[in-house]
């Protein structure tokens, strides 16, 4: 089965992770621009960060047969540094039209401050002007109300819910997000966000329409195989295969494909120039071995010598 991980901060991950993801069936990832664990204090570091996710990270993923896309945006935490935020807003438009940018994101609320609200709204307007989808980061704290508020604000700005992906949902937020016509994404992230087993329960209850699963893997203790493992568990627990394909592949493609920057042909039938320059192809798609989720898990082991 082919998978897409529509939320993965690969810039923080190792090549072991890329290998494991490719082996588990991941064909494409979306890297949202985010907070790097420590506040950036200059627009220059933002520029270099955005350049890295549209350039070097894309190349790095391509070496493992994974197509890499990204979203660009000013995240909610850094929106609270007004001087930085102003400068970042100035440079965002030029990055939003780069190749492989599939949305403005991840944007939204953290502490739900006035500044967060201001820059969330400005970025919604930018997305509307550039006709790009939006990836919304819902807050960890006061999540339920923060999620409702995010959608209220989108509607105030006349945004089309079918172009908005609301991420980091849980049992408490999913109903409203789906009822209001948005895409609902779930981050399978140990300890804090969502677990595999809970996710399967949600699929059993809500079906697969407009739901997608991601790993949100980053610099924290997280699981880059979140999508593949959830698919495995869902199949074992009797969720029909076509539904698993929707939440682990098709829905992400449909939602972010609205940018015009992400097509199934990118990995199934890449253009000649891409094959020469940035995409080494996927061994699984070339008729290689069957996807294996567990295989690489034991690789990090001092007994595994570097024999050459």
């Amino acid at each position: 089965m082919m998978f897409i991980d529509p939320h993965a901060h690969m810039i923080s991950r190792t090549t072991d992770d890329y290998e494991a993801m490719a082996a588990s069936g991941i064909v494409a990832v979306i890297e949202p621009a985010f907070w790097v664990g420590q506040p950036r204090t200059h627009v220059g570091t933002y520029i270099d960060y955005l350049s890295a996710i549209i350039g070097f990270e894309r190349f790095r993923a391509g070496q493992f047969g994974i197509r890499h896309y990204c979203t660009v945006g000013l995240n909610s935490k850094e929106a609270n540094n007004e001087a930085l935020a102003e400068d970042v807003m100035e440079i965002l438009p030029r990055f939003a039209l780069k190749e492989g940018v599939v949305a403005i994101g991840e944007i939204g609320y953290d502490e739900q401050t006035e500044l967060e609200d201001k820059y969330f709204r400005l970025q919604l307007e930018l997305a509307k002007e550039l006709e790009l989808p939006v990836m919304i980061h819902t807050p960890h704290r006061d999540k339920k109300r923060g999620t409702s508020r995010s959608m209220d604000v989108c509607e105030e700005h006349g945004m089309d819910p079918s172009k908005i992906i609301v991420d980091h949902n849980n049992e408490e937020t999913v109903r409203e997000v789906l009822d209001r016509g948005y895409w609902a994404a779930f981050s399978i992230y140990p300890s804090t966000k969502m677990g595999n087993a809970r996710m399967v329960e949600i699929l059993a209850e809500y079906g697969a329409e407009r739901i997608m699963v991601d790993s949100a893997c980053d610099w924290g203790i997280s699981e880059p195989l979140g999508v593949a493992k959830t698919a495995k568990l869902a199949l074992e627990r009797g969720i029909p295969q076509d539904q698993v394909e929707m939440v682990c592949y098709k829905n992400a493609l449909m939602a972010y494909g609205q940018s015009g920057q992400m097509h199934e042909d990118d990995w199934l039938n890449p253009t000649a120039i891409d094959q020469r320059t940035m995409y080494e192809g996927n061994s699984i798609l070339r008729g290689g071995r069957e996807p294996m989720v567990q295989e690489t898990a034991v690789k990090r082991n001092a007994n595994e010598l570097i024999i050459e």
Binding site: S51, G55, F56, F59, L97, E99, I273, T277, M278
Partner: protein, 294 residues
């Protein structure tokens, strides 16, 4: 120089674009000319692949020869439509605002995505030359992205005509380090030098010591300067079972100024005969290597 290049690029594009695409592109060029900020420039460069597509340019023999005639070594064989259009925009810009050109290009390269980096660097031989441009190219060569490195190193006359010996030698060595190829480097034989030959032999010995393969192409830059210890290295390479490496080492020995080199070559009479007849050349070896990789 930039003016004629722009004309050629525009002509290639107009032979391939639909009327709608052509008119969009011309409108954008006018907007860039009339605008006081870089906004239209960024939008145009960003929109080019969306509006004009990303197909290969596939230049005709006449187009290739016109390119080479205008700037010897300019070889757009592997260019795509979008990269051609982006380079046309840059050349257009160079004639519009020559005094700001270097700063604008620096800014564009700093913000470039992968395809833009490849395009901007592929066209460097056509831009107005300056020390700032030269620094930018030095920065580009330091990339870890093979395709960006190759945009400078391959089928591009800039390195052969502008690099000093140290930068040239490091470009060749880096091509080997990142599993790139040497054959597409314009001026490879002309810019070969004794220092590079020494560096490459050291590198070959390093590879042998580590039990790794030595890229056959390396010997091409060694041959013309091979004496003494280098002949021994070539002899060792010629003794391998790997056909490509053996042929390359013997071909290099046929270029060696040293009589001892020719003795080693003659101890492999079959290959020596192929070399003498012109049946085996650096071109045929590279073609065979490509065919066996395909």
């Amino acid at each position: 120089m930039t003016g004629i290049a722009t004309e050629l690029l525009m002509q290639w594009l107009s032979n391939r674009l639909t009327p709608d695409q052509s008119s969009w592109f011309h409108t954008q060029l006018q907007k860039i000319a009339q605008s006081n900020s870089d906004r239209e420039l960024h939008i145009t460069l960003g929109m080019i692949p969306r509006k004009l597509g990303r197909a290969d340019l596939l230049p005709s023999a006449e187009e290739l020869s016109a390119a080479d005639k205008h700037a010897p070594g300019w070889n757009p064989t592997h260019w795509s439509i979008d990269s051609t259009a982006r380079i046309a925009v840059i050349c257009h810009l160079a004639s519009l605002r020559p005094e700001q050109f270097d700063d604008t290009l620096t800014d564009l390269i700093r913000n470039a995505d992968l395809a833009e980096s490849i395009a901007l660097y592929s066209g460097v031989a056509l831009y107005p030359q300056s020390s700032q441009l030269d620094n930018l190219i030095g920065e580009g060569l330091r990339t870890n992205i093979r395709s960006v490195f190759e945009a400078i190193a391959h089928n591009n006359p800039y390195p052969a005509t502008h690099f000093d010996e140290n930068r040239w030698n490091h470009m060749v060595l880096k091509a080997l380090f990142i599993d790139s190829t040497l054959a597409p480097i314009y001026g490879l034989d002309k810019r070969a030098n004794p220092e590079l030959a020494n560096i490459l032999c050291d590198y070959a010995n390093e590879r042998w010591a580590a039990g790794r393969l030595v890229t056959f192409e390396l010997w091409r830059c060694v041959g013309p300067f091979a004496t003494g210890k280098m002949i021994t290295d070539l002899e060792r390479a010629a003794a391998t079972d790997n056909q490509l490496e053996k042929q390359a080492a013997l071909l290099a020995l046929s270029d060696a100024p040293d009589q001892q080199g020719h003795q080693v070559l003659n101890s492999h009479p079959q290959v020596a005969c192929q070399i003498a007849s012109g049946e085996l050349t650096w071109n045929t070896i590279s073609e065979n290597a490509r065919a066996s990789n395909a």
